[in-house]
């Protein structure tokens, strides 16, 4: 895993050996002074739940190389680190718009017609808005996913009920696809391939439970709208 390499690289710069194991909820880390192996420190810390953020991943990786190559002093590394961590995320309304457009395009990939794509656009817009609002309030992520899948599929299902367009079933099916946890799924398989089997399985279970929640949300709105098959 990249994180282990990066952290070890930074530790090495300051003359320490480092061992690290990462779990779903906590990190266990030991650092050992290279010159005096008796001096060591082990700590277990909780992991703060963070949203996926590739900018941080990319810049921390750069920071670790900079530390290694330029031998930056410790204070500077710390201040750089705080700067990277506290960066603002992208404007959330722009993200909302782009995600809605993306899911509409996704509907098009499944051969949905233009009306279906319009429905999916608005359904995703509402669903993702709900997801952002609930995430801001720090509500349990499973509840968040179920609710936003429910909202999105309810809106997309309207097209099915009033018989507009030729492919309403594709609109209904792809309206919840923006919630599918793609990156955790890829990460989990990657972890298993690289031998971090426990972490990989934990992530896989996490992703699967999110998908179950999405299915529950979809199923609830199908029950309400009285739809039998997808």
């Amino acid at each position: 895993m990249r994180i282990i390499q990066n952290v070890s690289r930074m530790a090495e710069t300051f003359g320490y050996d480092l061992d690290l194991s990462v779990f779903q909820m906590s990190i266990m880390m030991t650092i050992i002074n290279k010159e005096d192996p008796v001096k060591l420190l082990t700590q277990i810390r909780k992991i703060k739940p963070l949203h996926l953020n590739f900018t941080i991943v990319s810049e921390l990786s750069t920071l670790s190389w900079d530390t290694y190559d330029k031998h930056l002093p410790f204070d500077e590394v710390t201040s750089n680190y705080c700067q990277i961590i506290n960066q603002k995320r992208m404007n959330s309304s722009l993200v909302l718009f782009l995600v809605a457009a993306a899911n509409a395009a996704f509907c098009g990939l499944f051969r949905g017609d233009f009306i279906a794509m319009t429905f999916v656009f608005f359904a995703t817009f509402a669903g993702f808005f709900v997801r952002q609002a609930l995430m801001k309030k720090n509500i349990n992520h499973l509840v968040t996913f179920t609710t936003s899948a429910f909202v999105a599929s309810l809106l997309a299902g309207i097209g099915y009920v009033i018989h507009i367009g030729h492919t309403p079933e594709i609109a209904l099916a792809s309206s919840v696809l923006f919630l599918i946890p793609g990156v955790p799924m890829i990460n989990s398989i990657l972890d298993i391939l690289q031998g971090h089997i426990l972490t990989g399985i934990a992530r896989l279970v996490n992703a699967t439970s999110l998908i179950v929640c999405i299915a529950i949300g979809l199923f609830t709105s199908m029950l309400i709208l009285g739809l039998e098959k997808l």
Binding site: R2, Q5, H51, L52, N53, F54, T55, I56, V57, S58, E59, S61, T62, S64, W65, D66, D69, R89, M90, L94, V95, L98, V99, A100, A101, A102, N103, A104, A105, F106, G108, L109, F110, A173, S174, V176, L177, F178, I180, G182, V183, M185, I186, I189, L190, L193, I211, V212, I214, A215, L218, F219, L230
Partner: protein
Amino acid sequence: MTYEMIRLLLIDGLMAAIAAIGFAVISNPPRKAIFVSAILAALGHSLRFFLIKSGLDISLSTFVAATFIGLLSIVFARIIHCPAEVFSFPSLLPMIPGMFAYRTILSVIRFMQNSDVIKSQQFMMDFFHNGMTTLFILLALVVGVSLPILFFPKLSFSVTRKY
């Protein structure tokens, strides 16, 4: 290759690019990586579309497309100094078997609700078909995209190094 085929390929690529941009911004990547992932997604997805149309099965063509994305992503990673995963993962997202994944769950729920034997067998079949397809596509995606990283580990882990 006919004119119609080329038109379909272009539309497919464009859709995949829009989808990749949208799904990428959820995970807040650096600005320059967004465009790269759109290009990679367009190329990869239309390659997969072409392979499926020419008769390959979905997981094998996904594997080829993912390997292609993985190779290109290492090249781009050298150019813009970002870890390859930052834009290769979002460009895989349009190929994630989301539809199959929740059809699997839906068929489990239907199986549970149903008491008719013949229908239950049908749902069991659906469950296995969709579940296996999900699993194989996922494996194909991940193995495909990480093969280049596993082959050139030095290259892909030092792209953010500036010296």
